[in-house]
Amino acid sequence: MGSTEERVVAVIMVGGPTKGTRFRPLSLNIPKPLFPLAGQAMVHHPISACKKIPNLAQIYLVGFYEEREFALFVSSVSNELRVPVRYLREDKPHGSAGGLYNFRDLIMEDNPSHIVLLNCDVCCSFPLPEMLEAHRRYGGMGTILVIKVSPESAYQFGELVADPDTNELLHYTEKPETFVSDRINCGVYIFTPDIFTAIQGVSTQRKDRATLRRVSSFEALQPANRSLPTDYVRLDQDILSPLAGKKHLYVYETKDFWEQIKSPGMSLRSSGLYLAQFRFTSPHLLASGDGTKNATISGDVYIHPSAKVHPTAKIGPNVSISANARIGAGVRLVSCIILDDVEIKENAVVIHAIVGWKSSIGRWSRVQASGDYNAKLGVTILGESVIVEDEVVVINSIVLPNKTLNVSVQEEIIL
């Protein structure tokens, strides 16, 4: 079993500001990893999950944002969860594996026996202690979390084929054009420190090829690795694919929920999944009420302690209300995220939307969308400080910060 010597270090990749523009317009005001899902920052969820790992020594957040954007959060979460969290800024892109390699000295400082690598923009139950146990049983270099998806949607991800008895990874392809498998890569991994040797191997191989290109013009014409710098190593194409079938890598399958959080619409869906999870793991976080002393609550709802909700309002299912929000009399909220300092006036209705910080929703106004999380305008997004005047209707639209809507709009992006 795990001895007291076996420390674990977790690394969470958080990305950067110019990398994912798909999270706009919300990412215009806040780094995506800090956007709240079910009342907690997106990155807070994997951090809490890491805390369940025995002998967790350190958590590193690795990304391209400025240090100051994470300073407050890192200090507050370290305090709250009593676990050392540190933000490390990558100076230039190294690829998903290269980034890990770049900080290997820091990671190895605690002499960990295992390294957990997670992507921040993944909504998941993060079954890390069970995965770690499975990894120890397999005895390989790495274990990948996988989930079964519908065959039609598998092409968007990394598809894996594993041996059903030994769970060994036999084959891995990133976003294939033809169907390979309905098991996909969840973006959660456990490695032993020899992963660094494997990553270094890729760099060296690339360096040798670069040298070869200088002497042989034929090599120079090979398209495969032509433009990648030697220290740019991608986890999927450069490590997982080549090592599949060589008894180094294994899979662990989760049957719980899993979603990629790339767009604002998906953040609403993910918030709902985490709220549903709270019902089992932290029911004290969810709100309750029946319309007498507190507002009527239906389904899973999170309300920040400083938010004020009128008792005649009806909230839920899948609603998350952030700090200092004010929800007026007779308001109906369904499937939405209400951010800090929002004011929703009497009798307004919000369905399938995200209402940005400091916005104001007028009396009898209606902010709604179809609720199709994958459609571009499937969830209505109001940016920071948007004013929707009384009785105005906003449907399937995205409104950038600091706008005032005094006429109704449908299917529009308002800059």
Binding site: T18, T21, R24, P25, I398, L400, N402, I413, L415
Partner: protein
């Protein structure tokens, strides 16, 4: 003499450009919008300009220090903590605008460009002896605006009519005013509209006079009008035989090219084009009716028309960009791409053609 420039809000109509830079600092004809006005004010002897702002004061303040020294004029900021409308900011800046001299002060709207006949306006103000003077401009479709109904010979203003349904006149408020300090006594420090509350009162007392703006006028607060405004501005430069206009075999019509920009062989530039500092226009490029901001690279054989290309963007080889395409800062249009009215937010790469006007976030 003193002046106030109403800078105000977030410039949302000029997005995506204003997502990178506050609106007054967005360049127009290769010069920050607000600098056109500050220079015109300095030229007629204004010694202090107050900017009434409510957004990003830090960025503005840095810019101002630089121009205070360069121009030798005092520039201060008056920051609204809540939006005060079009008249409230004057009350807020009262102490800066009024001194013992009793001289009138100018009020300008930051979105407006024109020839700024400020000296003529001072003379007009002295001659009628009223309390306030406003510039008006003649437009084709007055119902879109606030019309100023005035007595033609004296210029005395009778009344304002907002978006009139029948024809009452074709002169609209051009957003440039010269006011006696006594006007400030009528403005409270609260959200107030100068057109709806203050001016109608002064007009009722028969103390408000309007002068018709000679020359061009444009509100360049949104992309379509910005592009039209550039044409009018360059036209007026031409009438004054300004040496700033470019000439050469590859230039058609009125074109402004910053001296640090490089233009390749076989290009055809113009009419109505402004090319900012540090731009590189490679060979075989066609540019017409467009603004190319600082640091842009336009690659070979590309064709850009009726568009605005944001700072440090690139337009790929053989790309065709037209019909009110607005590229924000650091946008890269790949080779051979076609953009028909794409409005692209900063830091994007356009890898597939935009066939119909669309916002790309």
């Amino acid at each position: 003499m003193k002046a106030l420039i109403l800078v105000g809000g977030f410039g949302t109509r000029l997005r995506p450009l204003t997502l990178s830079v506050p609106k007054p600092l967005v360049e127009f004809a290769n010069k920050p919008m607000i600098l056109h006005q500050i220079e015109a004010l300095k030229a007629i002897g204004v010694t202090e300009v107050v900017l009434a702002i409510n957004y990003q004061p830090e960025v503005m303040l840095n810019f101002l220090k630089e121009f205070e020294t360069k121009l030798g004029i005092k520039i201060t900021c008056s920051q609204e903590t809540e939006p005060l409308g079009t008249a409230g900011p004057l009350a807020l800046a009262r102490d800066n605008l009024v001194d013992d001299s009793g001289e009138p002060f100018f009020v300008l709207n930051s979105d407006v460009i024109s020839e700024y006949p400020l000296q003529e306006m001072i003379d007009f103000h002295k001659s009628h002896g009223g309390e306030a003077s406003i510039l008006v401009t003649k437009v084709d479709e007055p119902s879109k605006y606030g019309v100023v109904v005035m007595e033609e010979s004296t210029g005395q203003v009778e009344r304002f009519v907002e978006k009139p349904k029948v024809f009452v006149g074709n002169k609209i408020n051009a957003g440039i005013y010269l006011l006696n300090p006594s006007v400030l006594d009528q403005i409270e420090l609260r959200p107030t509209s100068i057109e709806k509350e203050v001016f109608p009162n002064i007009a009722a007392e028969k103390k408000l006079y309007a002068m018709v703006l000679p020359g061009f006028w444009m509100d360049i607060g949104q992309p379509r009008d910005y592009i039209t405004g550039l044409r009018l501005y360059l036209d007026s430069l031409k009438k004054k035989s300004s040496p700033k206009l470019a000439f050469g075999p590859h230039i058609i019509g009125n074109v402004l090219v910053d001296e640090s920009a490089k233009i390749g062989e076989g290009c055809l530039i113009g009419p109505d084009v402004a090319i900012g500092s540090g731009c590189i226009v490679e060979s075989g490029v066609r540019l017409s009716r467009c603004t190319i901001m600082r640091g842009v690279r336009v690659k070979k054989h590309a064709c850009i028309s009726s568009s605005i290309i944001g700072w440090h963007s690139t337009v790929g080889q053989w790309a065709r960009v037209e019909n009110m395409t607005i590229l924000g800062e650091d946008v890269h249009v790949c080779d051979e791409i076609y953009s028909n009215g794409g409005v692209v937010l900063p830091h994007k790469e356009i890898k597939s053609s935009i066939l119909n006007p669309e916002i790309v976030m």
